[in-house]
């Protein structure tokens, strides 16, 4: 028995050591970013192209010691970013000064009074020269709550050499039929997460629907059924890529790059990324406007992007406003477009050589962002989004006939702060 008990003891010691290591690891989480009177902490998703780093670096140089921005990088997953920021804001954490807010957070953060409104000169700086789509995303109850920094929208990408040219007015039905015939996949984001809400919202908006009206009322109608029909048709057709029900942006990009699929609905970051695969591959990529839901109605592409919001708990809000304006300058928007594949929010930036060079499709991008359908602007957005995700998942197991009443019921209950 002696040897055996020693074995266990060694095991337990090892477990204890591992436990201590974990505890030590937790300790690091404390004060990210900097502190002090001139420190400005910028919480935003980790932009892999390095353009946000560049903006921070430039502004710090320009400020010449008046303030010093530290870029605290958040996960790329939108749900996780929000959870992290919300937790800190709800706890009145003064460590956050500038928040890189996803466009869908505005109403929620503003209603909870976690962020400061942009007024007077600041308001002018936040809205002047901006495209209509991004401007709508910072407005809530007649006030402006953020500065649109970078925008985003999705295009239909395809391989010219494999499928020929795709017209800008193609419908989802036609696209799915074409792909299934080939057969090849259409990469979309249909995992149960925010990306599915993006897809469903655009399908509904392109059919003329609107999940939450401007007045804030829930309005689920037959357009939801139409959206479910399309999603279900794709999910059960040969055009459904493997793992469709778990694919996010990156899985979609990989599926397209590995030639599993010749079509892809995705953000423009896939274009600079395609260069890494090879110049030849990048040159074979064609683009078209987001597919239509109905043949006779122009599509309403999704609208993403990052707005800069100033935390109410910031100890130096004046410096934070100043730093935010510096970061979202036209020059930095152009850099974000070039390095990060993030489209500008200021109309004029689309004319610059940098953007025209980086994006051969710059004009289509501007048009899409201008005519995009924002996701519901409501303080209960995350509840509604979770309800949409749950109702429209998995894409190959939907029964479109019952979706309208189901979605309506769930959104209403979620909006009242209940569960369904």
């Amino acid at each position: 028995m002696r040897r055996g008990s020693r074995g266990i003891r060694t095991g337990l010691t090892a477990a204890a050591v591992a436990g201590l290591a974990v505890l030590a690891g937790c300790g690091v989480g404390g004060g990210e970013g900097g502190s002090g009177r001139t420190a400005i902490n910028f919480y935003a998703f980790n932009e892999p192209g390095g353009s946000y780093d560049k903006a921070v670096e430039n502004c710090n140089k320009e400020a010449n010691g008046r303030y010093r921005i530290s870029y605290v990088k958040l996960p790329t997953d939108a749900n996780q970013q929000r959870e992290l920021v919300v937790r800190r804001l709800a706890a009145e954490d003064d460590d956050i000064d500038i928040i890189g807010m996803d466009v869908i957070w505005t109403a929620e953060f503003a209603a909870a009074e976690w962020i400061l409104p942009w007024e007077g000169e600041d308001e002018q700086a936040a809205t002047e020269g901006k495209l209509a789509g991004p401007r709508k995303t910072v407005e809530f109850e007649d006030k402006v709550w953020g500065l649109p920094f970078t925008s985003n929208t999705q295009l239909l990408w395809y391989r010219k050499n494999e499928v020929g040219n795709v017209p800008d007015n193609i419908t989802w039905d036609k696209l799915i039929d074409d792909a299934a015939q080939k057969p090849t996949g259409i990469e979309v984001q249909a995992a149960q997460y925010e990306g599915l809400t993006v897809l469903v919202n655009s399908l509904i908006a392109s059919a003329g629907g609107q999940i939450v009206t401007e007045a804030g009322d829930v309005k689920v109608d037959a357009t939801a059924t139409r959206a479910a029909e399309i999603l279900s048709k794709l999910g059960t057709s040969k055009a459904a890529p493997p793992g469709m029900a778990t694919n996010k942006e990156d899985e979609a990009r990989i599926g397209f790059e590995e030639e599993r699929s010749f079509y892809e609905i995705n953000y423009p970051f896939i274009y600079p990324s395609a260069e890494a695969v090879g110049k030849e591959f990048q040159d074979s990529i064609g683009w078209a406007r987001y597919p239509r839901t109905e043949a006779d109605q122009p599509s309403k592409p999704p609208l993403g992007g990052i707005n800069l919001g100033i935390s109410k708990y910031s100890e130096t809000p004046d410096l934070a406003f100043e730093a935010a304006k510096c970061m979202a300058s036209e020059e930095h928007q152009a850099i974000a477009a070039e390095l990060g594949g993030l489209p500008p929010t200021t109309e004029a930036v689309y004319e610059t050589k940098k953007v025209q060079d980086a994006y051969p499709f710059a004009d289509l991008l501007r048009e899409s962002i201008d005519e995009a359908a924002p996701r519901p602007v409501t303080p209960a957005y995350s509840d509604i989004s979770l309800a949409i995700q749950k109702t429209f998942h998995p894409p190959d197991g939907l029964s479109p006939g019952s979706i309208e009443s189901k979605l309506k019921d769930r959104i209403e209950r979620a909006g009242e702060g209940k569960i369904y």
Binding site: I8, T10, A112, Y193, P242, T246, R260, S382, K418
Partner: protein, 310 residues
């Protein structure tokens, strides 16, 4: 044991001696720090969660805060989500704990009987338990990833199998990950029980001509019963609160893999609805108490039976 006889003794006389009284006082004083610590770290949070669960309280709408009594509980208990999540959790718990019990017993026997290299054998078996659950869950998820996983390449598994794209497949992977990770823990607890079985009984049975299987079912299992029940209790309570494996393997509890803990997380952390979320937490707590009571009752009678007291 000594304490038990001592109290019985005092009860019988009905009058405590000075010595017994001062010993009792000392016992209370020695226990006090632990009791106070427990009250602070567990009693307070549970009480606070219960207090929160009686309110309508969403961090995003601080002005709407009001006392609503048991309304949150009614909301949860009348929702289809709660009951489907309870069913999913129960399925995962029952299947994974059953497999773990059988496998854990086999492994415990191996560890017990290992003649050479006992230390290394035991250490090797414990490795999965030493790996951080999140890391292990990622390994399982990537192994079965529909696009890049290697499991589809193995013999006996269809090349087009994509378990993580449907509910049954996802549950199977989650259960496998759970079993892989915690069987060693089960084995360790059972090993302790095995050590309680005296070798003499086995030898006597062998002399009487009992076969190995008979000795296992007639001697080992009955004597190990308390150990088995403790192991089952620990693992059932653990498995019922399963969170990390599901969270990683099927993020957000997608595809009908949402467990009660994931539901609590979604409501508390994502929707920051403290009232409703706390009600869910309290309900999970009540489920855990029910499970514990069930086991303790079974455990209590069986050990009493064994001692011949009933």
């Amino acid at each position: 044991m000594e304490a038990a006889t001592a109290t019985q003794g005092t009860r019988r006389t009905g009058k405590k001696s000075d010595r017994a009284r001062s010993e009792r006082k000392l016992a209370w004083m020695l226990c006090a720090p632990a009791v106070i610590a427990m009250l602070i770290v567990t009693g307070y949070p549970i009480g606070y969660a219960f207090y929160l669960s009686l309110q309508k309280f969403d961090l995003r709408f601080p002005d709407d805060k009001e006392f609503v009594g048991f309304q949150n509980y009614a909301d949860v208990l009348t929702s289809s989500t709660w009951w489907s999540d309870v069913a999913v959790t129960a399925i995962i718990t029952v299947i994974s704990v059953s497999i773990e019990l059988v496998l854990g017993m086999a492994i415990a026997l191996v560890m017990h009987r290992a003649i050479f290299g006992r230390g290394p054998v035991r250490a090797a078996i414990l490795v999965p338990y030493g790996i951080v659950t999140v890391v292990a869950a990622f390994a399982w998820r990537y192994a079965f990833d529909p696009a890049s996983g290697f499991m589809q390449g193995l013999p006996l598994i269809s090349d087009t199998a994509a378990p993580l794209t449907n509910q049954t497949g996802s549950l199977i992977v989650i259960i496998l990950a759970e079993v892989w990770k915690t069987t060693p823990f089960m084995a360790l607890l059972l090993l302790a029980g095995l050590a309680l079985v005296p070798d003499e009984l086995h030898e006597a049975a062998k002399v009487d001509g009992a076969k190995a299987w008979q000795r296992f079912t007639r001697i080992t299992l009955p004597l190990m019963r308390p150990a088995i029940l403790v192991a089952l209790l620990f693992r059932t309570l653990d498995a019922f609160r399963i969170f990390d494996n599901v969270f990683i393997i099927q993020p957000g509890g997608a595809l009908g893999t949402e467990t009660v803990s994931i539901l609590g997380y979604n409501v508390l952390i994502n929707r920051v609805n403290l009232g409703l979320g706390s009600a869910i937490s309290i309900l999970i707590f009540l489920c855990v108490i029910l499970i514990a009571m069930f086991f303790v009752k079974v455990l209590g009678t069986s050990t009493a039976q064994q001692r011949g007291e009933v």
